[in-house]
């Protein structure tokens, strides 16, 4: 049975586990955060379960990644939630991408380019510096919702940002050997990460976003990787291993399985753990 403190908690529903973890860190004990995703899903493929509807119906705050990341499941869930507080444009609809300059904004939203994101690539949270903007957006929303707890929220935010800053310095130091290193991935998850850590993103195994690779595309990718001596193939665990494994084998590159949100692989339950894992895995993939 819920005690008085627990009953007074702010009920937050986060779409994905990265923004859920950031919200927990800013909100502390004052918030009760539930994530629609568990972490192992594809960010664009969270199943629309009816069980999500009562959660959204009672939510005080909805925290999402934004840039259309949740376009495949969130609009329908919001419609069914019958919760006017968290609908698009309302103060409790917290779009963490606010204030972030998107990368890869398509010049055309024609479907000949696949399942493109009209507002740009939404995977900015794989850049830990941009995660700080998301933290600030979450903090602003919590302060606006519960100004009586402003001091606590600001303290939590500062504590978390201090930890994150210290981690960023460490990650940047650790990633120095990978400056200029090329890599490919299954889906276009990594442009922000590559830009932050000085890696060179050489393409995706998918033909286009949401479109499986054709044999011709795979052949061309293998040829290009051999010519460019691309040393790393990143495979996100949501996608089949067969093709990335084949490409890695054919090109001699190292296959690295990387999560795209906390919980994607074991021992990555928090955002910091996930980034630690990603950096460790990539550093370990490059021959000394």
């Amino acid at each position: 049975m819920a005690g008085p403190v627990e009953a007074a908690r702010i009920r937050v529903v986060a779409t994905l586990t990265d923004v859920a973890d950031l919200t927990r860190n800013v909100g502390g004990d004052l918030v009760e955060v539930q994530s629609l995703a568990t972490g192992i899903e594809d960010t664009h493929g969270v199943p629309m379960k009816p069980g999500f509807i009562p959660l959204l119906n009672r939510a005080d705050l909805l925290v999402l990644v934004g840039f259309g990341c949740e376009h495949a499941f969130l609009p329908a869930l919001l419609e069914a939630s019958k919760n006017p507080r968290i609908q698009y444009g309302k103060p409790a609809y917290v779009d963490c991408s606010r204030g972030i300059s998107p990368l890869e904004v398509p010049r055309s939203t024609d479907h000949s380019e696949g399942d493109v994101h009209p507002y740009g690539n939404p995977h900015y949270l794989l850049d830990p510096v941009l995660a700080k903007v998301a933290v600030q957006n979450i903090c602003n929303a919590l302060v606006a919702l519960a100004p009586e707890h402003q001091v606590e929220f600001l303290r939590h935010r500062d504590d978390y940002l201090a930890r994150l800053d210290a981690k960023i310095i460490g990650w940047q130091e650790a990633m120095k050997p990978l400056q200029g290193a090329q890599f490919v991935s299954y889906h276009e998850h990594w442009p922000y990460f590559a830009a932050r850590f000085g890696m060179k993103y050489s393409g995706t195994i998918e033909l286009k976003p949401g479109i499986d690779p054709t044999p011709r595309h795979i052949e061309q990718m293998i040829a290009a990787m051999k010519a460019e001596h691309v040393p790393i193939v990143v495979r996100e665990p949501q996608f089949p291993e067969k093709v990335p494994s084949l490409i890695a084998k054919q090109t001699g590159a190292t296959l690295v399985k990387l999560p795209i949100m906390p919980g994607g692989v074991p021992h990555t339950e928090t955002y910091l753990d996930m980034m630690d894992y990603i950096v460790r895995a990539l550093v370990g993939a490059v021959p000394k």
Binding site: G51, N57, P75, A76, V105, P118, G120, V135, F239
Partner: protein, 493 residues
């Protein structure tokens, strides 16, 4: 003397006049030259000023770009500022800006501008999508032997060309329209019809949502799904038999999400018809001639990957009026529907693995429908339209006919593109439960992308002897495509 003097002065005067005229012309020429000179000077001054302004602008832009870049660097290397009471940002010393950095910044600005451009031209316009669906088929028998509505042998059917429009009306409601052009089965000509045109509230209190207009009423699982979104080619026989195809109605529907931690949804609706055929209201429609329907649905999560969704539905039209008219029977009599009652039980069990549900899933869906209509029996067929003087002649009596129908399907998806399944249909005729039809249909679907899908299906349809129809086999190739906006609503999940 004076005349002589004057005559002597004339040439002088003429000469003077000529000289003066020449001087005036010279002066005029000088003025034009001066004007031209002034114009040239003005042009040169203007060009110089323009050049200086351009250089100044370029200098300002370079300076601002350098400042922006420095600030960007500062932001990306510093903790995010506090929401309130933040320390003022210290001035940043000017730093040298490389052309690469300017190029990178310009690229970022271009992308933001590009993103904004996408929104502005379409502001306030509804989202627009178009769905096309063509069915190529071969059936071993024609409609005279099977009761089908399409020709036997080879057939190409442009089943639908569906225009979808949707937008918010205001902060309190949204609206959507589905206009469908379908090829007439007899003539092949496209006939345009409004399938749906409904207004839906978005902010009613008490977890309520009201829908009004023409829409597919909520009954069972697949009754309100458009043809191209079905998991197989054709609508299940039981839905055709008891609902009349899609559950279209002109009416009002209220949905209530129960305010409990568990998902329970209750829908109640009222409308002038439900599916096909429609009631004929005559001069005046009584309250009892309206259709009333409802559905209660819930959900159970067995594991994170396995779920069950279940629902019960009911439809009641207390007094049907000329719905389909007097239907001739094999024994020469007629049946006229007087009351329509349909109940349904639906169940969907899904395996949707969280990790790779775009590549693997399993769905088992079943729906059981029960009809208990009341009819006016007319043994001697005096009500038949073909009767010389149609009308009641005293032998008519009222009675009920109970009948059942069921369909069940399994769809397995083994890659992002490929899925396959099996559909089983069994239904009794609502007017004669001894008349039974069954069908089975294996199907294979290739989704080239989310917007381009091809499906191959084989269907064997069998009838019992009471039906007077003959069994047949059919092969279908369905091609469905989507352009423009397309999003799956909650009902289509």
């Amino acid at each position: 003397m004076k005349i002589r003097e004057l005559s002597g002065l004339c040439p002088v005067l003429c000469l003077s006049a000529f000289v003066l005229q020449a001087q005036a012309q010279v002066q005029e020429t000088d003025q034009i030259g001066q004007l031209q000179k002034q114009l040239k000077q003005t042009q040169e001054r203007f060009e110089r000023q323009q050049r200086e302004m351009k250089e100044e602008f370029e200098r300002v832009i370079r300076t601002q770009q350098a400042q922006i870049d420095s600030l960007t660097k500062q932001i990306t290397h510093a903790p995010a500022p506090a929401a309130t009471g933040a320390s003022p940002i210290q001035p940043v010393p000017a730093t040298a800006v490389t052309p690469e950095e300017v190029k990178e910044l310009s690229g970022k600005v271009d992308q933001v501008v590009e993103a904004q451009k996408k929104i502005r031209p379409g502001e306030f316009n509804p989202s627009i999508g178009l769905v096309g669906e063509t069915v190529f088929s071969y059936r071993t028998r024609g409609p005279g032997q099977t009761g089908a509505d399409r020709a036997g042998g080879f057939d190409v059917h442009q089943r639908s060309l569906e225009l979808n429009l949707a937008a918010s009306v205001d902060p309190f409601a949204k609206a959507y329209v589905v206009v469908n052009a379908a090829a007439d089965s007899a003539t092949g000509e496209a006939t345009l019809g409004v399938e749906e045109a409904a207004f839906q509230t978005t902010s009613l209190p008490g977890n309520l949502e009201l829908k009004a207009g023409r829409f597919f009423g909520e009954f069972g699982r697949l009754g309100y799904i458009h043809d191209h979104e079905l998991p197989f080619v054709n609508r299940p026989l039981a839905l055709d038999q008891y609902l009349g195809g899609e559950s279209q109605s002109d009416g009002l529907q209220l949905n209530w999400l129960l305010p409990i931690p568990h998902f329970v949804s209750l829908t109640l609706g009222v409308g002038d018809h439900f599916g096909d055929p429609k009631n004929n209201p005559g001069d005046r429609r009584a309250f009892t001639e309206l259709n009333f329907w409802g559905r209660l649905s819930t959900y159970l999560e067995l594991t994170p990957d396995w779920q069950i969704e279940a629902g019960i539905s009911g439809l009641w039209n207390p007094k049907t009026e000329d719905r389909g008219g007097a239907q001739g029977q094999p024994d020469g009599g007629t049946l006229t529907e007087r009351e329509r009652r349909v109940a349904g039980l639906d169940l969907k069990v899904s395996y949707v693995p969280l990790r790779d549900n775009q590549f693997r899933s399993l769905t088992w869906g079943t729906e059981l429908l029960c009809s208990d209509n009341r009819y006016l029996f007319d043994p001697n067929g005096s009500l038949a339209p073909s009767h010389p003087s149609p009308g009641l002649d005293g032998d008519e009596f009222s009675g009920r006919i109970g009948s059942f129908g069921v369909y069940s399907y399994v769809t397995y998806k083994w890659s992002r593109q490929w899925s396959g399944g099996f559909l089983f249909d069994w239904v009794q005729n609502a007017q004669d439960h001894h008349d039974e039809t069954f069908a089975y249909s294996p199907y294979l679907t290739l989704a080239l992308s989310h917007w381009n899908q091809v499906r191959l299906q084989y269907t064997h349809t069998g009838h019992n002897p009471v039906s007077g129809l003959r069994s047949d086999d059919a092969i279908y190739l369905q091609w469905a495509w989507i352009i423009g906006s397309h999003s799956h609503g909650w009902q289509q999940r």
